[in-house]
Symmetry: D2
């Protein structure tokens, strides 16, 4: 399935300041990019770096004083593996690759070390594997209110599990924290999200599970607002701290970001299969 | 029903320091005291004060350097009103006496302002009144592990609702916070507790509800460890901060308190009725 | 010194709901009220209760559906005792009246139990008494930024001591928590505040100290925004939880409150003396 | 300078469980290992993995039921670069390698996002560079009490900055959080620590600064308990979550670890120079 997508971000700064952006989509087997273009107005030098362990593509620019904008656009072919949910099981900790333990550790917004008893008593009886992670998403969808203005940039899973309101970022943080508490590696994913209304940057998560073709990362969206087969992955990280789409290092004013994603041709209905993006890492 | 009860507290201090104790039982219609005696070793002057709005009896002494102990003993007749749980209902906020609003406010260890959505989504569907408060106790009993060494003096309901482990104090704090979140006034009660094993100071709580004979305070023990009809009330407060059995103002070493309570004559089995202590305030 | 003061609060509710207001000024030796008037539009029954231990005057009304407003106005003579700061000392805990221990306990927004080491290491070397409490106010004024939109109704002293930004409520909470950590009873005061710009309900605090004429409560304003001799006391409490000017129990929209206070005749410059409101409790 | 070092860890488990250890020292230019040996009793298969981005060496074993122990020993040549503190300056964010931004993000125990105003108001006036990071260490050493039993595995920098007590882990977390708040990348380091009494695993941190020979990581020990030139680095991470020396995945009892490190030959006095371990990453 192909998508046209992109974003336009506009800022005003009183003086020259550095910005780090993480808005370019990742490249991997299941996500092939075409016709990518990143432009700045006014034009400035662009410094790029791709993080080896995540594939995240970071861009740094020094924005001049005054108005500054970044536009990114591209076309992408997504070819995730769609699998039968019941066929996707948990990987015992004795068999987890040591490289994924990173995503078992508690992180700033996902304090899995404080949620263990809660997670075991609430989800301990669900059958391990995809169905349990999906059960966690259902619980969050049912018990946490999707609502702007309640949470903020400091809100963490430990707050949300009790305060029960937040946005996509908070939903993902809570799901990740619960998964890690139960011994399931989980990581934060920022994405362009097909069928998300209104269009915006979206936050979802991946859990490390074992499918019919071996272990790997599976996508989940506890907000149920986007099509899991239409998520164009930007960045992955322990939590939102690592994949901010824009980090200005100085004083700045900004407009609301414009974000878009459209299917090329007719899109099938949103999938109910397990979605495995087929990434190497 | 009559009980013999008391405690013995022993300390060692390098220098003379003030202590405030709250170990003497309250006196009210449903709790009549006989043969009370408070002695200190060595003997020192005792200053007393009874808080008008709570009936809590505070005692201050200046303990001399060295060993110091306090022994309190008494006999008590408890005559609570035992009522049919289904007959006890909620008081609408429009009819609550303004004097009990104090026990609707969040307090140090009972942050009801942070538990509203959780409380409504977990307990909102239970029938209001005694049965709902009892349902809160059942939930705490089922989902929070009674366990020493997990919580400490800084632990609050906001921690316990997620960390899911604690002792009687934590159970009471969580229940109080949930009640207040739902608009039910609730207050902390420290007590000598019949049938509590091993004997110790106990923490339970009271909720303000409406019984067949009008509105008043009803006792609940979410630990299910004591007999609600055998609780000799020491102090009430917004939470544990107000009814510490001993507050030393200086450096001190202490022994584990000895606490006892025994029935005079044969005690009936623990009650399953709603227990209303028949206090004026 | 006399002042004319008052407020006007306007609401819209879809259905009839109870409101509790705490906007009427207290009455005590140092604060004499004249020509008080509380009116509602439309007119409704007013239920009143004065809390014995605080003197707070609470008002309950059932507001009808639609627009509802409350207007309160009065004239007041303030005759606080103004004393030389250096003459006001600390009361040792062995001599504090047992009735003020309540204001040594940690409360919802003033977690003095978590600030002890911080308070001792930062303020332990200041000379005890008025000068130390004033030093705490100076520290808060210097190190906490007075800024709207950073804190919210859930923010507590434990947050503010590190996050270093807030409004009058947060300044008072932090000062109270520090005082209690050091063994100085402190309580929250809501007030009409002369010279506060723009006019609004204000939050300050009182500390229990010993002046030339005996022990009592002294006023402090760590925001330095109002004249301590021009504070018309509305309510006192452990913290903001107890003295909300308006508590609606149901869904409501509201306008920004109008609040005013003006001197009758010419006012002297803001005092630099220690201000003791001369209240009985 | 050469050192002989190692540790012995003993466990008892009721059933076979996986363990992940991070006790082997890293290998890099400034830290050369000889005669390393890792043995288990009873002998079991050992699975190893070195994390590319950190150089951390993780070991996984499946321990059989009953007693199980691990012993690790080695010899190491440390050849850090010792530099004049005043010659080590800050790297502006516009010039920081994008690969080190990871260590600017807030993490589980180092919530730099909540400490910004505190950090700026307390340390903003110090001269940027090594001297400022050293000033942060001095402040922590002076204002935080080194004390066991106050903090626990859930304690974070946001707690410690106010509660002012903890152990080496807490000291490092607080220092890291402050550095990140000020725009200085900082990371957690676990180590064998020469001159630490009693011997134990130690926690220190590194800050990314610019020395006379270019930018790189510099070691700091805010506890002042070890010799910075005698730290044998085991693991680095965002915080303690990533470099636990032992992670058992199941029920376990354990003895206190034995840890040792001794100089080969006579050691010079502890250095007061800036210590740069000369690691590639």
């Amino acid at each position: 399935m192909q998508f046209i997508f992109g974003c336009r971000l506009a800022y005003r700064t009183p003086s020259a300041i550095p910005f780090v952006f993480n808005i370019e989509a990742q490249q991997f087997d299941g996500q092939t990019l075409f016709d990518e273009q990143l432009t700045t107005t006014p034009g400035v030098d662009i410094e790029r770096w791709t993080m080896p362990e995540s594939g995240n593509r970071y861009v740094r620019v020094i924005a001049p004083p005054g108005s500054f904008s970044v536009e990114y656009r591209g076309r992408v072919e997504l070819s995730p593996s769609l699998q039968e949910p019941a066929s996707v099981v948990e990987v015992p900790v004795a068999q987890l690759p040591l490289a994924v333990f990173t995503h078992l550790y508690p992180s700033r917004y996902c304090q899995s070390d404080k949620l263990e008893r809660f997670a075991r008593s609430t989800f301990g009886d669900l059958a391990a594997g995809y169905m349990r992670v999906n059960g966690i998403c259902n619980w969050i969808h049912d018990y946490v209110s999707y609502e702007g203005g309640v949470s903020d940039a400091l809100t963490s899973a430990f707050d949300t599990v009790t305060q029960r309101a937040g946005v996509c970022r908070d939903f993902a943080h809570l799901a990740i924290a619960i998964c890690r508490s139960l011994g399931v590696p989980a990581r934060y994913v920022s994405a362009y999200a097909f069928r998300l209304e209104p269009p915006d940057f979206h936050a979802v998560f991946e859990a490390y599970l074992q499918g019919p073709d071996g272990p790997g990362w599976y996508l989940f969206d506890p907000t149920r607002l986007a099509d899991p087969a239409g998520l164009v992955r930007i960045g992955i990280g322990r939590d939102a701290a690592e994949v901010a789409f824009c980090s200005p290092y100085g004083s700045v004013e900004y407009d609301k970001p414009e974000v878009w994603i459209d299917a090329v041709g007719e899109a099938p209905p949103a999938t109910t299969q397990a979605v495995r993006p087929m990434t190497g890492s």
